[in-house]
């Protein structure tokens, strides 16, 4: 079975991986979430500027592959202006969709569809799922790049 990697690296993924949005350190008072993929060495912090439960702004920092970098980049764009709790309740459903277990939910933003091809690459599902896993892992600490 030979698959074309350009199917995986949808133009939006390549664009966001090569020029990630909202990338870099965040102010120290932002809430930090963390996720890493022990198998491949991806490690990211996702920092949210919260106003009550609403996300005023989002940034991310860390190192990873093109798919996980793009996933965090897209996530920061999707999360801005949204209620944190709304997305925390969606994370499991998004991961199930990425794993190919359920169809795309019609109420989710179209930008997520850029990761549709991941469903054909089982070993890369965890890369695309990383920001959504992070949302359930708030950290007590800082916003620096994870070591």
């Amino acid at each position: 079975m030979t698959r074309n990697p350009t199917d995986l690296y949808h133009s939006l993924i390549r664009d966001q991986a090569c020029a990630p949005r909202n990338f870099g350190p965040a102010p120290p008072d932002w809430r930090v979430f963390h996720a890493e993929n022990p198998a491949c060495g991806d490690a990211f912090n996702l920092a949210l500027d919260l106003d009550g439960g609403r996300i005023r702004a989002a940034r991310f920092n860390g190192r990873g592959c093109a798919v996980s970098t793009a996933a965090f980049s897209v996530a920061t764009e999707l999360l801005t202006g949204e209620m944190l709790e709304d997305w925390q309740t969606r994370t499991e459903a998004i991961q199930r969709w990425l794993a190919g277990l359920t169809p795309f939910h019609p109420q989710w933003p179209d930008a997520l569809r850029a990761f549709e091809a991941v469903r054909q690459f089982p070993s890369r599902v965890h890369c695309a799922a990383l920001p959504w896993q992070a949302l359930l892992k708030p950290q007590p600490g800082h916003t620096e790049a994870p070591s």
Binding site: T2, R3, N4, P5, T6, L8, Y9, R14, A17, C18, A19, P38, A39, C40, G41, D42, A43, R63, G64, C65, A66, V67, T69, F121, R124, C127
Partner: protein, 413 residues
């Protein structure tokens, strides 16, 4: 010298190639697991169809035949390792399980507050985490000999740690990341002279190494996995000197490992059976023995020369490739080559290699402390075997070039 005819003959022995289209796939993930030759597949199938009955239990002749075949497999492994007797060979699931048995058993029987175990910064997680856990339970300390920038264990650090008189000294035969071959005979001699138990993680590199001749060696425990020796997954070994099997506690209790059981007491069977509670992986053991037969049938010098020539070819070809950096590459590397591609994550490199029908490994390679000591977060790894040739390396280069063209062409800084 790379002998095309010899490689073609090897490929003809592996269904992976004969059952695939053209060009044949380039399987360069041999450090993770080797392919299985047809003779092993046949032995596994025959074991399934021809053997009936459990081992060491019944008096019917089917059980006796299965028992004889299983013990013959143990004897084959013992012969291959140069063990003093088959009873020194315990069948396990894999090298990881073997190391867990040794570390946990040592901790239970001999661990005490202040105990020390010396490992290297080169370890696979399997030869690090079980020792840490055993030491944590008994209140001991793990000594770690660091590595030099070239990936080799720092001899000064290692000898300084040995001077602290650790009770156990454990190290790998070959690094699963860089393929660096360690001076294990020299280390074993020094460790034994210092009064330590010597544990060799031979999961990696055993397939290329000259016979270990364990009976006359300075090792106390040696572990390995069948699936890295052309055998099936799920079968490995723990070799231990007979005397150690008397104090090492059995890892599992239950059927087959006991001599007598009363209402309140139990007496264990003799080694090796006291370590193999329950029904063992009989089929896997027979497949493993068949793999060792296959390996023995391949001329060692020819295998060694082929591997050395191909590794050097790969090192030269990748070093000359724009954007590629080799990590810990040495002329004597045991058929493993770690590298990075500038600006592209190893997983993405591996994805483009996969599209060329080339299998390489990418990530932390189950050796995160070592990779970080070398200054990286993750790496690409290509590893070679008897069925690989220059065309496999060239196709890997095509994958790397396509990855670079895709990720870097429009996004140059």
């Amino acid at each position: 010298m790379i002998d095309a005819q010899w490689i073609a003959a090897r490929r003809a022995e592996f269904p992976f190639f004969t059952d695939s289209g053209q060009p044949p796939p380039a399987y360069l993930d041999n450090a993770a697991t080797t392919l299985r030759p047809r003779v092993v597949a046949t032995a596994l199938a025959r074991a399934c169809t021809d053997l009936t009955g459990n081992v060491h239990r019944a008096t019917h002749h089917w059980s006796e035949e299965t028992t004889m075949a299983y013990e013959a497999a143990r004897a084959a492994v013992a012969r291959w390792l140069g063990a003093a007797e088959p009873a020194e060979v315990l069948f396990t699931r894999n090298a990881t399980e073997s190391l867990n048995w040794v570390a946990t058993g040592w901790g239970q029987a001999r661990g005490q507050p202040g105990a020390r175990v010396l490992v290297t910064a080169q370890e696979h997680h399997s030869n690090l985490l079980p020792w840490r856990a055993a030491l944590q339970r008994c209140g001991g300390a793990c000594l770690v000999a660091g590595v030099q920038p070239d990936g080799r264990v720092d001899p000064d650090q290692w000898h300084a740690a040995l001077a602290q008189q650790p009770q156990v000294v454990a190290f790998p035969l070959v690094s699963n990341v860089t393929g660096i071959v360690n001076p294990v005979a020299e280390w074993a001699r020094a460790a034994r002279a210092a009064g330590a138990l010597v544990v060799l993680d031979a999961a990696q590199g055993l397939i290329h190494h000259p016979p270990l001749a364990l009976a006359a060696s300075d090792f106390d425990f040696v572990v390995g996995s069948g699936h890295k020796l052309f055998g099936p997954p799920g079968i490995g070994f723990l070799w231990a000197r007979r005397a150690h099997l008397n104090w090492l506690p059995p890892p599992l209790l239950g059927g087959e490992m006991v001599a007598t059981v009363t209402a309140t007491t139990a007496q264990w069977s003799e080694p090796p059976w006291r370590f193999e509670a329950g029904t063992p992986n009989i089929i896997g053991a027979l497949g493993f023995a068949a793999a060792l037969d296959y390996l023995r049938g391949l001329d060692r010098d020819q295998r060694t020369n082929h591997l050395r020539a191909l590794t050097q070819y790969a090192q030269t070809a990748l070093a000359a490739e724009p954007g590629v950096r080799l990590v810990g590459a040495r002329p004597e590397s045991a058929g493993i080559l770690a590298f990075t591609v500038e600006g592209i994550h190893p997983h993405d490199v591996a994805q483009f290699a996969d599209a060329e029908n080339v299998a390489i490994r990418a990530g932390r390679l189950c050796a995160q402390p070592y990779i970080e000591a070398l200054g990286h977060e993750s790496l690409c790894r290509a590893s070679f075997q008897v069925y690989n040739d220059e065309s496999d390396i060239q196709r890997l280069l095509v994958g790397i070039r396509r990855a670079r063209a895709f990720f870097l062409a429009e996004h140059k800084p």
